[in-house]
């Protein structure tokens, strides 16, 4: 008797399931795809199995990225500070600034190859790509937005309801969906098409000039231990000897760990696209890459936590500096800077 009842109920449920499936027949749903990455790279840190890329998810992420509505007074979008032509850094701004003329104590980091990055921000305080946007969105000196209010704002917007449905199946806006969509878009910011990459891949007809080759040699001898290929960073935090500024009082990584051994340690930035993403250092104090060379050559402050690799400075002759500049120029990825898929989108409502 029980068995019969169970059987009948199961058949009934199956029938309901079929009806349910049919009702979505006209709706194609998200079109999933896998990011095509250049060969020979390590496996990304980002776990795509928990957030598979879809055309609609990336499109939603891109729309969110360029939408000022993510800030309290709708004046500042992610793309406001992260400009594509500056490798998603902020052109000509030493310190990032936010709503109502407010300012932070750090420069805008560039955005690319983020799926290999294990932590974020200059002090490595953010531990996952998906939660990274919460920091600028909710920081009162940046976008100054209340998260609950933001979700309500997006839920009330027709375009977003449509886009969330396309990306995630229903119109419901949640912080998790918003963050996953932003992560999907940011995951597509991949930069491995510079002249340097062509040379390394032995593309026909591409080679370093003598000056570039000389610069590459200097780079390998004097810079590559921290700015490790192929990412041109080892993703660590270090004290590079940059003098402490009392007016900024930025203690770096120590703010996160409360550990005095982390005093003045900041993330090693990638050197990819470095010549288009001035100014330099965590506080953007150097607008000229030659100022950075000069700092390593003779301008360090050697405190207790200075990194052993640079504690004796990095002597760089005028010739080495010139050649290094020529080499760094080969790390500019014009295809990335002009990638149409990453370009700003018009926000219509």
């Amino acid at each position: 008797m029980t068995r019969k009842a169970v059987y009948l109920l199961s058949v009934f449920c199956l029938w309901l399931l079929i009806i349910d499936m049919n009702s979505h027949a006209g709706d194609p749903g998200p079109e999933y795809y896998t990011l095509v990455l250049p060969p020979g790279l390590p496996k990304p840190v980002y776990d795509f199995s928990q957030n598979p890329l879809s055309r609609q998810g990336v499109a939603l992420g891109r729309y969110l990225f360029y939408d000022g509505k993510l800030s309290r007074d709708s004046s500042v979008s992610c793309g406001f500070c992260h400009q594509q032509f500056a490798a998603f850094g902020h052109f000509d701004h030493s310190l990032s600034h936010g709503i109502m003329g407010r300012m932070t104590t750090r420069t805008v980091p560039t955005l690319f190859n983020l799926i290999w990055q294990k932590d974020f921000m200059w002090d490595g305080g953010v531990n996952h790509l998906e939660v990274q946007p919460l920091s600028p969105i909710m920081n009162e000196n940046e976008m100054g937005m209340d998260l609950k209010e933001l979700i309500t704002r997006l839920q009330g917007n027709k375009t977003y309801r449509r886009m969330f449905k396309a990306a995630f199946g229903t119109e419901e806006v949640t912080s998790q969906r918003m963050l996953k969509a932003l992560a999907q878009f940011m995951a597509t910011m991949i930069s491995f098409e510079s002249k340097y990459d062509s040379v390394m891949r032995k593309s026909p007809g591409v080679s370093f000039t003598a000056e570039e080759q000389g610069g590459y040699k200097t780079f390998q001898q004097k810079c590559a231990a921290c700015h490790k290929e192929p990412f041109f960073t080892d993703f660590s935090v270090r004290n590079n000897g940059l003098p402490y500024l009392p007016s900024m009082n930025d203690i770096g990584r120590m703010q996160i760990t409360n550990n005095t051994a982390d005093y003045l340690k900041f993330k090693v930035p990638s050197l990819r696209n470095v010549l288009v993403s001035a100014p330099y250092m965590h506080d953007g104090r150097f607008f000229d890459i030659f100022k950075v060379f000069a700092m390593y050559d003779h301008g360090q402050e050697k405190g207790n936590t200075i990194d052993p690799l640079v504690k004796n400075g990095i002597p760089l002759s005028a010739k080495e500096q010139r050649q290094l500049y020529m080499f760094l120029n080969t790390l500019t990825d014009k295809n990335f800077l002009n990638n149409k898929e990453l370009k700003e989108v018009m926000i219509v409502d």
Partner: protein, 234 residues
């Protein structure tokens, strides 16, 4: 919709076995029921204070039956807040049996602190997630005390940290005063009282009126809040 149907099918096929245990949470300060706002309390160091906000995460519930078998209830995190009646009722599913102790964790598993955007009780919009130093605030207590040197004499304790050496999740195991019988007839209840007085053992608001990062003072308060719960069985 599909999910619900599948669950329904599974439920039907599995048969009705799991029973519900209702946990009713209430809060107190040294045995006196907690009232948010202007009610004044006294801590062990003799500072008067009031509480305006009190909330925390609970997770990883399990019960031990009289044969010593540990029964884990469905996973999930619960955000309990003094100002929300609904949050103070937690329904746990567990099989029929005779149980004599309950265990749970105050806080959020370390893995969930570093696995990206979460939903439900772990949605960052509840203000229990640090955006600049990723990780959940395991427990939060805010208010004011004349002893506090902070602006407005505020006291503000946002206790978190999931990475060694500053870990603030704490396991709690409480023996039940009498054997809890979970059977097919009628719902079972347990009352759990969280006493905020225990948070500040050995702490004076003169020296420490706020802490909002991972660190040694947070660890110390976590050691204290580990002992805030007691069971009241009728």
């Amino acid at each position: 919709m599909k999910w619900r149907l599948l669950l329904f099918c599974l439920f039907v096929l599995k048969g009705v076995e799991a029973q519900t245990l209702q946990l009713r949470l209430s809060h107190a300060v040294k045995g006196v029921p907690m009232v948010l706002g202007n009610t004044t309390y006294l801590n062990a160091a003799g500072d008067t204070f009031n509480i305006t906000l009190f909330k925390y995460y609970l997770s990883n519930f399990s019960l031990t039956d009289t044969t010593g078998r540990i029964v884990r209830t469905a996973s999930g995190c619960f955000l309990v807040s003094e100002d929300s009646v609904a949050s103070k009722m937690i329904s746990l599913k567990l099989p029929e049996g005779h149980y004599n102790s309950i265990s749970f964790q105050i806080g959020v598993d370390s893995l969930l602190n570093c696995s990206g955007a979460q939903s439900g009780a772990l949605d960052p919009l509840y203000g229990m997630f640090w955006t600049w130093n990723s990780g959940y605030i395991m427990a939060k207590l805010e208010g004011a005390s004349p002893s506090s040197q902070l602006p407005g004499h505020r006291i503000e304790f946002h206790i978190g940290g999931y990475r060694a050496p500053h870990i603030t999740q704490r396991m709690v195991t409480l023996p039940l005063p009498q054997t809890l019988v979970i059977s097919g007839s009628g719902a079972s209840n347990l009352s759990l009282v969280g006493d905020a007085y225990s948070w500040f053992q050995g702490i004076s608001f003169r020296q420490l009126a706020g802490f909002m990062t991972p660190g040694t003072p947070a660890d110390r308060i976590a050691d204290n809040y580990q002992h805030m719960f007691s069971i009241h069985q009728k």
